[in-house]
């Protein structure tokens, strides 16, 4: 995790998630303060007991035994409080994490596609999973450690001062030494760590690139060559790792040494004091010395921990900021407050003077007009990557037009609810998407209440029934993420069945290009034809038969609609379409 600064508001946002649990947090804080106080008090009491074990015949059981039972009681209370603190912290942490995740996911459902299209899915998933985890680990545990650490330092200091101010001063003066040493090492090793993670990143990118395309490496006999390059990076990684690991591992021994010096100093000062005050009423006792030695040991620990906690907190806040940026992302324009539910759709679509582009610098669709009567078929034609999905995005209102309007049955689609608009369309994309689950669940996605009878009939009409029955468990066969072992053609048939089951009045279809075998392709074609019968259809077409029979052909090229008309008209125009049409048949 690279170190980054979190924006200012992050902490406040974090606190707003914690606020509902403020009673629990307060309880946790109070209990951990109690824990620290009791934990620190125990050595004092034990020191007092030890004072009464001076030597043979000088053991005062009358004092020792009550102290011991008092300590036992305190230990019990401490343990109980500790357990409560742990439990409460767990609860608060996991609840907050659950809510953050749930909010983030809910946000995903309303984020505009323009945002989702611009972010790699893996990146969003990593915010939702890895970042939230880091945030919970770091932030909430960091908070408790920071708090107990601070209380421990103050408490220890207080107890030491109450036992013997002079010796406490020795500790206070010497302890920052260990802090300085730790900081020094950390700052030195930081640059080594950065170098290590740079080289490691370089190596990971190399491995990723080469192994993903290992077959190409082999096809061109580049095994030795890439191995040489790999070993070169690997050698550099070894050097930088060794430095980073060695330098950072110095922290513990060095601070431990400083602690040992402090310990020796306390022993020296304490023992000398014992000797010089022996017999006096204000005598410094062996028990006090042992208590002070115990404190000297634990006083320095929280300092080292806190410096670690601070970096972890920064890291956690940076992660939280990434998640909150997602949650704070502007949602798509909500449906108009008076949005109607689109109903009784016949399939009339009117596109009036539409302008659209993804980025202002690159205008795409300009002044586009198209009137589609119910039952008409519109073929969208053009080379790969010409922007055919742009039209689908606009029709389904995944994106809003920049100017002009699109209406269905004479109603501007911005004045109806998105849900009802989309329910009017059946969409089969070439880029098939199926979810992990049974075949039945996948087909019934649009109508979860559909009966087995209806599902079966939809699959039959989509020519999917026969292959489904050949699967090991028929309609109950569980398919993995993205269709798992199904072939591309089978996946597309399932997507068709999914639409068949709802059969809305308007269709958006995407004809398969290359990766489907001829027989399946013909089945898909037949299924398409039977669906399109009497319905308005927008079809991204590759097959000449589809194109020729369409009522309107839209010819697209690099995002623009360059021509529009019927097959005969376009051929007569002898433009881009004619060129496209002829080149397919030319030698």
């Amino acid at each position: 995790m690279s170190k980054q600064k979190a924006p200012k508001g992050t902490l406040r946002q974090v606190l707003s998630y914690i606020r509902p649990y403020r009673a629990l947090v307060a309880l946790s804080v109070a209990l951990s303060a109690l824990c620290v106080a009791l934990t620190l008090y125990v050595p004092v009491l034990l020191g007092r007991a030890i004072d009464h074990i001076a030597g043979p015949e000088q053991v005062d059981f009358g004092v020792i035994l009550p102290i011991l039972s008092k300590v036992a009681l305190m230990v019990g209370v401490t343990a109980l409080a500790q357990w409560l603190v742990n439990t409460v912290n767990n609860r608060v942490t996991y609840q907050v994490v659950r809510e953050v995740r749930s909010h983030a996911f809910a946000r995903l459902q309303v984020l505009p596609l323009s945002y989702l299209d611009s972010q790699p899915a893996g990146d969003i998933v990593s915010r939702l999973i890895a970042d939230v985890d880091q945030f919970s680990d770091g932030l909430l545990m960091g908070f408790t450690q920071l708090f107990t650490g601070a209380v421990t330092i103050l408490g220890t200091l207080g107890f030491m001062l109450s036992i013997r101010p002079g010796i406490a001063l020795v500790v206070v003066v010497l302890t920052p030494l260990s802090f300085v040493v730790a900081r020094f090492i950390a700052s030195r090793s930081y640059s080594h760590f950065r170098r290590q993670s740079d080289v490691r990143g370089e190596q990971t990118a190399f491995i990723d690139e080469m192994l993903t395309n290992q077959k190409v490496v082999k096809a061109f006999g580049q095994e030795q060559e890439t191995m040489k390059r790999f070993d070169e990076i690997n050698g550099r990684l070894e050097k930088s790792s060794l430095r980073a690991i060695f330098f950072s591992s110095l922290t513990n021994p060095c601070t431990r040494f400083v602690n040992n010096v402090v310990y020796a100093a306390v022993a020296l000062a304490g023992a000398l004091l014992c000797v010089s005050t022996a017999g006096e009423p204000e005598a410094f006792t062996v028990g006090s010395l042992s208590a002070l030695l115990a404190y000297a040991n634990q006083y320095t620990k929280p300092f080292n921990e806190i410096s670690g906690v601070v970096t972890e907190l920064q890291n956690a806040l940076a992660c939280a900021a990434r998640v909150f940026r997602l949650i704070g992302q502007e949602a798509e324009t909500p449906d108009a407050p008076d949005a109607r539910t689109l109903s009784d759709v016949q399939g009339r679509v009117d596109i009036e003077n539409v302008f659209f582009s993804y980025t202002p610098e690159r205008p795409l669709i300009e002044g586009f007009d198209l009137n589609v009567k119910p039952g008409q078929h519109v073929a969208i034609v053009g080379p790969t990557g010409c922007g055919k999905t742009t039209l689908i995005n606009l029709l389904m209102r995944f994106y809003d037009v920049n100017a002009g309007s699109i209406s269905v049955e004479g109603t501007d689609i911005r004045s109806v609810t998105r849900k009802s608009l989309r329910a009017g369309y059946g969409m089969v994309l070439q880029d098939t998407w199926l979810r992990a689950g049974t075949i039945r669940e996948n087909v019934a996605m649009g109508r979860p209440d559909a009966s087995d009878e209806e599902i079966r009939s939809a699959c039959e009409r989509a020519y999917a029934h026969s292959f489904i029955m050949r699967l090991p468990r028929g309609y109950d066969t569980v398919i993995g993420e993205d269709g798992g072992a199904l072939s591309q053609g089978q996946k597309q048939l399932l997507c068709i069945a999914r639409v068949m089951l709802c059969l809305p009045p308007m269709l958006i279809l995407d004809e398969a290009t290359s990766s489907i075998d001829t027989r399946t392709e013909m089945r898909i074609q037949q299924a398409f034809l039977s669906m399109m019968e009497g319905r308005t259809a927008f079809i991204v077409a590759h097959r000449l038969s589809t194109i020729r029979e369409a009522d309107v052909i839209l010819v697209m090229k690099s995002g623009h609609i360059v021509e529009q008309g019927s097959h005969a008209e376009l051929l007569a125009r002898n433009g881009f379409y004619a060129q496209l049409y002829n080149s397919q048949l030319a030698g």
Binding site: I50, I53, F61, L68, V71, V75, N86, N90, R91, S102, F105, L108, Q109, A121, G122, L128, I129, A205, I207, L211, N213, Q214, A219, E223, E225, M227, N234, G235, L237, L242, I245, F246, S249, P253, F257, A264, A265, A271, L272, V275, V286, L289, P383, G385, R422, Y425, M427, A436, P448, E481, T513, L544, S545, R548, Q579, L580, S583, Q584, A586, G587
Partner: protein, 574 residues
Amino acid sequence: MKKLLAYLKAYRRESILGPLFKLLEASFELIVPLVVAAIIDNGIGGGNKGYILRMCLVLVALGLIGLVCSVTAQYFAARASVGFVKKLRSALYAHIQLFSYADLDRIGASTLITRMTSDLNQVQTGLNLTLRLFLRSPFVVFGAMIMAFTIDVRAALWFALAIPALSIVVFGIMLVTIPLYRKVQEALDRVLQAARQNLLGVRVLRAFGLEEREKRAFDEKNDALNAMQRHVGRISALMNPVTYVIINLAILALIRTGALRVEAGLITQGAVVALYNYMSQILVELIKLANLIINITKSVACARRVQAVLDMPAGQKTLADAPKGDAAYRVQFASAGFRYSASGEEAISDVSLNVKPGETVGVIGGTGSGKSTLVSLIPRFYDATSGQVFVDGRDVRTYDITQLRRMIGVVPQKAALFKGTIRDNLRWGDPDAGDEDLLKAAALAQAEDVLAAKGGLDGQIEQGGRNLSGGQKQRLTIARALVRRPSILILDDSASALDYATDAALRKALSSLDYRPTVFVVSQRASSVMHADQIAVMDNGRLAGVGTHDELMKTCGVYREIYATQFRQEDEKP
């Protein structure tokens, strides 16, 4: 695991010295309470200030020696673990280079990438910690107990009681929680899967208006994860309080026993303090040990996964001798068959085909018909499992694999380019090619405009060719294959991202090559193969027909069907 440890051999010295110095450090730490006891009993008891000063200097000296030992130990541990993993990583990478296509298919790139990166990093961390702490912690625990026994046997009996009790608690909780944490991980994976699926299917889900249902389904998984986390949390929350209680009860018992023994004049007050200190040391070490064991468990699992890759047999055998084919043909398939796995169906079976030098062969058929598999047998990407494949009359399995592949230019289905300049990428075809050769190949591959757009041969290509379009990548991969002036050129469905005009221009350029390679054109498009000297029609792994376009239109039903679906209108064309 044994195999992996072999890589540690080179660092035997470091891996022995590391823990040894760590033990030394721990031993000096164990002496500290004895010194303190001496200060109390002799120094304070005898009122001897000089003695106290000397003993405190001894404490500092002990700390200094400890520091030196410990730094030395850290150094050796770091060297051993980093060096070990470097060697292992290099060996793993080298082993992966030996994997055949069949091996790669079976294992998958993403698995290998995880093994090479995060698994090996975890192994490094685990080994480093092991070398530093694995001996130290038990040593301190038992050392402290033994020291206690040297002070006073009766009092030390409490150690013999407390240590097993602490161990049971610490390791018992670990034993219970480790499998539970695995379950948490599984629940987290389900949450992750739900999020990823939702993002990938966002268009379909919104088209069906399923946002609310998706939220509910996600929350269900999220809640399940939450419940699991809290369950584990409750159990591991016991660790600190319970160990705290045990250690303190032991200290109380120790002081009580100590008091009785001091009363009886058997031990001194300083000895009681020393016993108390030893007990405190134990707790710290046990907790460290528990953390260490969690870390080691993880590392061992990672190491096993690395080992599993190294254990996979790799490579293809070269035959010393095999029946010869007809040297008049450049490529000859003799009843060749292939199955991807021993139990699976044949992907291609009984294919016989003869191709003369300089001929262009079209291979056409539907998805899964075996087109690509067929041409993969020529450069031995896969070895025929029945029958034979010959190049220039020699069974391909008798060729040195590198030598064989040097004769063949392949343009794979998936256009893959690598980070670096265009020149670097094209030189994969031939490391000795000059700029002129590269430019010529690019021109033939219709890639001149790609070079122009990217700044010529020095143009930078990003990882995986991200900064190029599909068609641009494809043309560069074709150029790369042409750079080696191959005697056999295989275009495996490699014009799919090209528009028809570019495709046609490419075909024309290929037919004009002065060195007349034998060309295999694999395609789903009839238009890409119809002008070939001969066309092999694949259907369900079998050769459904061989011949020219006109012959096949008369004799081959499958070919006619493919042609008809793509060119239904040709005859009626105005």
